[in-house]
């Protein structure tokens, strides 16, 4: 069927169109190796993801390689694929998925795992690596969820752990030399950060998991993540692909630094991306200049895990506002730190819109904030509020978490109390009642490689009870309360800490219909409940680990040592705070001597 006729049959053709500014079309005949970058979600979600733009630019910058994109098809396009009207095709050259040398999926959230299976299936590839032939392309995966690779290890031939920029080019080079899947997979293990699951086998003693054992000599153990120490020397795209359609985050994005030193105990990104690596102001300004010129954007997001902790944030923002004061360009920060310094930076940004400001106190009570090591107290919070109300802001958004260790109904009530006191402060200061406070709560998912990795997650009923309770407390037209669906959070909790057996659950749930699970209109908990039951597992039963147990992700070395996480878990239980490691090395293990990372300890 002609491409134009095909696109006339779908609701949003710009999802599949390609041709965007910044997209790169090369002739597959003229390169040594090609790569299909597959994002297991719809176009508008995938295109909002910075990593995709980085890897796309990185590979295409090399004359010998090409990279094309693939996203999950929406329902209407899937139907056309099933009817045989078209194969699942890449955005750039509209080539079938199977045609590529290497296919790489990014694993950003666990609820996208079934979508990976769907894409393999629609692409005409067997789900399990062992069922695919030598002529089928190696399936690669990376991203934060690859750090516990086991749930996906049956379907993925090769995982890349950590910073992908160098390894990916190494892999492209290796493929162009070998052109043979078996040799490629074996030799790829010489690159740091590569994990090939089929060369490891799980061991059990009296039915208790004892960890993975490498089955061939070349297989490294433990598998260390890949690490880039100098981001100034690392590739950053000069141009982002500019979609036609409105996507989730419609702006240019500049990565300010990687890693975080805050040490919030629930945060996986804060551990797996250690150490902190900053780009220099000159490097940032040069990149931003190019992104703006090439893309014609009117907004640049200054992105990182905690942008206001960038050591040169003031000089950076100062430089940017001077440079672009006449050009209708806005700079946005993902969320603000709860201190008055943030407000100084905000003033400098001079955004006249006075839209909504977002803060993440994470917990309502001081006791809970100490448990998660969120180094913020109420006086910080209220002095920050005072400053923004002085500036004339009328909308604030707060992020909180539920299900923190030892959390009681009192702690939940503290969320409402805090919000109400913010409202009182506003009334007092302005004499008006027109403040809009949005409270959002997420459900804590204890993640691998965090101090909370051993604890039991709260169950769905308890989450829901807390949500109902808080909803009742936050009545009134000034308050808006959003909460995350407890069912998907609990499912995420099971998948993220699963071992190889979780792969069977994923496969069964997929065959029952699970797909695009992060979308409310697609999510059906029953597919999952049944899949768990059939394998003798129970979605409604909390999982937890003992401190001396071998964990399903213990063969992965992220630099931060398990002993450090244990100490942090114990500190959490006694409510002890751990300072930011910029103030003094805490010995987490990621530094130059033990792991090769350059950080404040060196």
């Amino acid at each position: 069927m002609k491409f134009i006729e095909l696109l006339k049959q779908v609701e949003k053709p710009t999802r599949y169109l390609g041709e965007e500014r910044g997209s790169i079309i090369k002739n597959p005949q003229e390169v040594k190796a090609d790569f299909l970058l597959a994002f297991p979600d719809l176009y508008e979600v995938g295109m909002s993801h910075l990593g995709l733009h980085i890897l796309y630019g990185l590979i295409n910058e090399k004359e010998d390689y090409l990279c094309e994109r693939l996203f999950a098809p929406a329902g209407d396009m899937e139907k056309l694929i099933r009817e045989g009207k078209t194969p699942l095709f890449s955005i750039e050259n509209k080539r079938p998925m199977k045609d590529f040398d290497l296919i790489g999926f990014t694993l950003q959230y666990e609820l996208s795992f079934t979508t990976v299976l769907k894409m393999l299936d629609l692409g005409g590839l067997a789900l399990r690596s062992q069922d695919r032939g030598p002529e089928d392309p190696p399936i690669i995966a990376g991203g934060p969820c690859a750090f516990n690779p086991e749930p996906m290890s049956a379907f993925i031939d090769l995982f890349v752990l950590g910073d992908g920029e160098e390894v990916l080019l190494d892999l492209m080079g290796l493929w162009s030399q070998t052109k043979n899947k078996e040799i490629f997979l074996r030799e790829a293990m010489k690159f740091r950060g590569v994990y090939v699951p089929k060369y490891y086998t799980p061991e059990y003693k009296e039915n208790v998991y004892q960890g993975l054992r490498p089955t061939i000599e070349e297989a490294p153990f433990p598998i260390q993540k890949a690490l880039i120490n100098d981001l100034d020397k690392c590739f950053y795209p000069k141009q982002m692909i500019t979609p036609f359609m409105d996507i989730v985050h419609d702006r240019a994005v500049m990565e300010i630094f990687r890693g975080c030193t805050k040490g919030c105990r629930f945060c996986q990104a804060g551990i797996i991306y250690r150490p902190v690596r900053e780009r220099s102001v000159e490097n940032l300004v040069e990149s931003i200049d190019s992104l703006l010129k090439e893309g014609g954007f009117d907004e640049v997001g200054l992105s990182s895990l905690s942008t206001l902790d960038y050591s040169a944030i003031y000089p950076l923002v100062d430089e940017l506002t001077q440079r672009y004061s006449e050009e209708h360009v806005r700079f946005s920060l993902p969320s603000l730190r709860l201190d008055t310094f943030s407000i100084d930076v905000l003033r400098l940004l001079q955004d006249q819109r006075k839209g909504s400001l977002t803060f993440a106190p994470e917990a309502g009570s001081q006791r809970m904030r100490d448990i998660i090591n969120k180094n913020v107290d109420e006086s910080d919070l209220f002095s920050t509020m005072e400053e923004i109300f002085k500036e004339g802001y009328k909308k604030v958004k707060f992020y909180f978490m539920m299900g923190l260790p030892g959390e009681t109904m009192e702690d939940v009530k503290a969320i409402a109390d805090l919000s109400k006191r913010v409202f009182e402060l506003y009334k007092e200061m302005t004499g008006k009642r027109n403040l809009e406070i949005t409270v959002s709560t997420s459900c804590l998912v204890p993640k691998p490689f965090t101090p909370f990795q051993w604890m039991a997650q709260e169950n769905v009923e308890d989450f829901q009870e807390k949500q109902r309770y808080l909803k009742g407390l936050l009545r009134g037209k000034n308050f808006r309360y959003n909460y995350h669906d407890a069912k998907t959070s609990v499912l995420e909790g099971h998948i993220c800490r699963g071992g190889r057996k979780m792969g069977e659950v994923l496969e069964r749930a997929y065959h029952k219909g699970a797909f695009l699970d992060a979308w409310d209109e697609h999510f059906n908990i029953n597919f999952w409940r049944e899949a768990f039951l059939e394998l003798g597992m129970d979605l409604d039963k909390e999982i937890s680990f003992s401190l001396d147990e071998v964990l399903p992700w213990d063969h992965i070395d992220v630099g931060v040592k398990k002993d450090f996480l244990k100490k942090e878990w114990q500190a959490a239980q006694s409510g002890e705070l751990t300072p930011d490691c910029r103030e003094g090395c805490l010995g987490c293990g990621v530094n130059l001597k033990s792991f090769g990372g350059i950080c404040y300890g060196d």
Partner: protein, 205 residues
Amino acid sequence: MVIRLWMVKEGLMMFLSHLELMKTLERCFKSAGLPMAHSQGFNPRPLMNFALPLAVGVEAQKLLLEIELMEGAEASLLEKVKFPRGLSLHSYKVVEKSPSLMSLVESARYLLTGDKEKLRVIEHGDPLLFSKRNKKGHYRERDAREFILAFEEELQGYEFLLQAGSKANLKPTDLLLALLGKEEEVHGYNVRLMDVYDREGSSLW
């Protein structure tokens, strides 16, 4: 300074919705360093207005729009703007600041190509019914013929002169549906806007 642009939108670019097209052009202009004048207020937007918003799937031989540049800007900068494949600038001219282009449009000429035989129903006098949404959001059955000012057989299809603009408007895709009866059949046809006219019937270019 107001500049009227004649652009061509064809090939895959037919799939851009009106909003997507606006955003795309905005970014092309901005990227080329064109000093666009912006609206006032907290959220300033570049000043741009179109003669006729086009539905998804429709090409345009003559897509007219006006943009406003800052005083003293060089209109010739427009020649340096890079557009995605399928969008191109045919001509441009400086015009007087006037009422919005859209308010001048009274009719539009479209070329419909595809299996011509099925379009021949136009030659018989029967009503061509389709459902049209009125201002209250209700669907009402209407006869497409009420909006057709003229039609003519062409080599590969038919050309239609349709009422267009804010007073009375027939979308060419609605006309196709009325002619063919089935949604699936519509996909096989190509729709191209050829020109837009004011109340005197003269082209807005």
